[in-house]
């Protein structure tokens, strides 16, 4: 798939096509486009990452886009894999040494803050999710893959509870934090916005009968 542009030139017999300097440069350009698209999508949503804007941000002109991607939907699917997939994002990094409960507390605590609410670059889930949900199957499948990987990473740190497996808890915690942040962002400026963050934080950690959190 990756090398289908460099067809069999067969200089000697039927060997694999050589990887040329041009191929390397093209891959780099492709990565630059993807990076630009991911940055814009993370900040402003998938549909804000239009082809003209993305190509300009990557230092290129529009026409070159279709040398790298078959369509806008193909770019979207790749962006989702890049934004949500692979290694857990900064929200989960640096927490890996904690034990179960403390890990969940820190992950949720970092996520559900007013600062995080007011800084859309923090986490892309709330921003992009609706676009995925109403998008084509190609994009949904890419998201399901990425979600699975993310849940597995979350799951290994999450303690189970009576009648609830670690995986179930991880899934619920993701839904709770994403839904909470989304509600808080959509109602930003009103008192209820802060209330949502606080309530979700509590509900995510039933092990604590009463929360004691630093203000702000």
């Amino acid at each position: 798939m990756k090398t289908h542009t460099a067809r069999a030139r067969s200089s000697a017999s039927t060997r694999a096509p050589r990887i040329t300097q041009r191929d390397i440069k093209k891959q780099e350009t492709r990565q630059r486009i993807l990076q630009a698209a991911a940055t814009i999508a993370r900040r402003e949503g998938l549909q804000a990452a239009s082809i003209p804007r993305v190509m300009e941000a990557a230092g290129l002109t529009v026409g070159g886009f279709y040398g790298h991607f078959a369509s806008k939907a193909a770019l979207d699917a790749e962006v989702i894999r890049r934004v949500f997939g692979a290694i857990p994002g900064r929200g989960l990094s640096g927490l890996d040494n904690s034990s179960g409960l403390a890990w969940v507390q820190r992950a949720v605590g970092r996520y559900l803050t007013a600062m995080h609410r007011d800084n859309p670059e923090g986490c892309a889930y709330p921003t992009i999710l609706s676009a995925i949900a109403t998008g084509p199957a190609e994009v949904k499948a890419a998201f399901a893959d990425a979600l699975n990987m993310r849940v597995k990473a979350f799951e290994t740190h999450t303690p189970a509870l009576p009648g609830v497996t670690a995986r179930e808890r991880a899934l619920a915690a993701m839904a709770l934090t994403i839904g909470g942040l989304l509600l808080a962002r959509a109602s930003a400026g009103a008192a209820v916005s802060d209330e949502v963050l606080e309530a979700c934080h509590k509900w995510a950690i039933p092990e604590l009968d009463r929360m004691v959190r630093p203000k702000r």
Copy 2:
């Protein structure tokens, strides 16, 4: 505000302007436009409710729009008030006679189903929330009002738990169900999609150590 189009014509002294047959008809038309916009927004999102599409759905032509609304943003704000505000939606209706825990079980159970996931007309929160979160302050304020009313309605039916008030639980339950449905919709078609619904259902109701739900 509502009558500023019918200016002081002062037929006799300085009495309030008469309400004419035209005024009534205009209000009806305005409601028709709002209704059409709400229906499209609920199904496909706020930005799918474009002025040409809305006006056509209302049986009118584009030009007439600005006789009723100052701008697209003004329409959006009103649509949000209509969709989210006022009386609790069908998701909460018909459940009012239940006692606390049973009510939550039924509300959550109805919400987090595969059928609901696959039918976007059911609840507009997941579809529209991102657009609100990235939209102008006018729209966010309208949403905060509507959210407050919805939470208050939810709250009166929701039982508290040790260390968690009914209001906190209501807020968390909304975040959990909305986030869960959104994740499920975005990953529809994959196994993880059904898992999310199941896990959120469990997590919303900690009173039950083990869930017993009918399949499908």
